[in-house]
Subunit: 265 residues, 2 copies
């Protein structure tokens, strides 16, 4: 399957390719215009505390949908989809450690598992580009740069994490515009959490991200930092659950939710 | 205690009066500038489903803070306060039916109870008035008019409810301004859910609200409808829990959160 073709497919067609095994690659840039989601699956005994963690930390962990125990159809964000088959790749974590990656979790799923779908910054990257604000990681065809900061999230029950952020270098005159645009998208991380000096967040070297790739920061650009959904994975693992299932990094769940419907104003 | 004096007190002083028994009246207009909250207390076996109900219905049920089981200090919205003593009046519900009202629930509280604090439209009423948009229920010194609509909330587990709305008549030229202002306050019900014809919501007679008082709708004014926190009480009772504790109507929990900090942009 040529990647050029897949970029134009709609969400349902892309999910079908995931389900029948013909797409197991990252989803960045695919099904443009539709929200993609981080996924965390935990046993229901963790469900209240994890939902509370997300409620207390809405910038890194904006909830798009929570499925009740045993449910596999996200009927609010992607009716008729199946979260056990429709992601290109999953990561299985045992006692908080990565165990393996698979392309289907149908046989692993059971009636006690609760699925959390969380917003992803792909949605606001599209809005930035449409407004003429360049997004360096897309220009350079790299994964966005991610850093673990010195900011502690507000814990809930056994869940805690440092805040993970993404960084995008923004031309100085466009920084206010970047704040305005992303402020509209509270359910996909919203406004930046910091603008400027990385040291304020405890980030010593922008060239050495904790996750993803480094990108070029040009003269006349300011690093701008947004809360990142990777925080939700770190928080889920902090409780060292027997079993946790997430999307594999970059291999998101593609919903039927148009990005523009997420804008608050 | 003269009411005129109490209006000027800060939240901590008002809560102290509730605690020592010298204030058991409604809180409308008191401690201006600070957010007041609806309260729902349920056993922890309901906690995930009720939090999920609120997550799925954020306009009527905007969460300000959730306390973990047995906790009585809302340290995010009112550090050092005690939700078992610091509201002027509580309503106790047994199997979903009103049982009695009390001014203290300290002896009733236990380690299994989870407290939910939800935003209240008092916050945006203040913003409307400051922007020159009249608020009729305040002008007429009445409770806001509330109606049960034909809109079903998105259920979660045993919790379901029709959407309850408040109605404020707004001078026609100011309706767009009222939408703009309340849109800023997503955590206290946010933008209206309907503007104009009450029949669209299944409301047959504005003069006969289901809760609160009728107010005058003048020529040249349009009825504007916002989601209402009473929905959270109806939803909690829909599960017919052995015990549910809420604020008594109009007797809200007064937080230390400045209304202006709730504005999203």
């Amino acid at each position: 399957m040529a990647q050029a073709n897949s970029r134009r497919v709609d969400p349902a067609a892309l999910r079908k390719r995931c389900r029948n095994g013909s797409w197991d690659q990252p989803t960045s840039g695919l099904a443009p215009g539709y929200a993609q989601a981080n996924m965390v699956i935990l046993d229901q005994r963790y469900a209240f505390d994890f939902l509370l963690f997300c409620q207390r930390n809405p910038k890194p962990c904006p909830i798009l949908e929570v499925l009740e125990p045993g449910q596999t159809e996200p009927r609010r964000t992607a009716p008729r989809a199946d979260i056990t088959r429709d992601l290109p790749r999953y990561r299985i974590w045992i006692h908080g450690k990565p165990d393996r990656e698979v392309t289907d979790i149908h046989s692993l799923f059971n009636a006690d598992l609760v699925t959390f779908l969380l917003g992803c910054s792909f949605s606001f990257e599209e809005a930035l580009i449409q407004a003429g604000v360049p997004v360096r990681n897309i220009e350079e065809n790299k994964n966005v740069s991610m850093y673990t900061t010195n900011i502690r999230c507000d814990p809930a029950g056994p869940f805690s994490s440092r805040l993970v952020v993404t960084m995008r270098p923004i031309p100085d005159p466009l920084v206010p515009r970047a704040v305005q645009i992303t402020s509209r998208y509270a359910s996909v991380h919203g406004a930046p959490i910091h603008i400027g000096n990385p040291m304020v967040l405890g980030i010593k070297n922008l060239d050495r991200p904790d996750f993803g790739d480094p990108v070029t920061v040009k003269k006349g650009e300011t690093p701008v930092f947004w809360a990142c959904g990777v925080t939700s994975t770190l928080a889920a693992l902090s409780a060292k659950p027997d079993l946790c299932i997430t999307h594999a990094p970059g291999h998101m769940f593609v919903t039927d939710v148009p990005n523009e419907t997420l804008a608050v104003i």
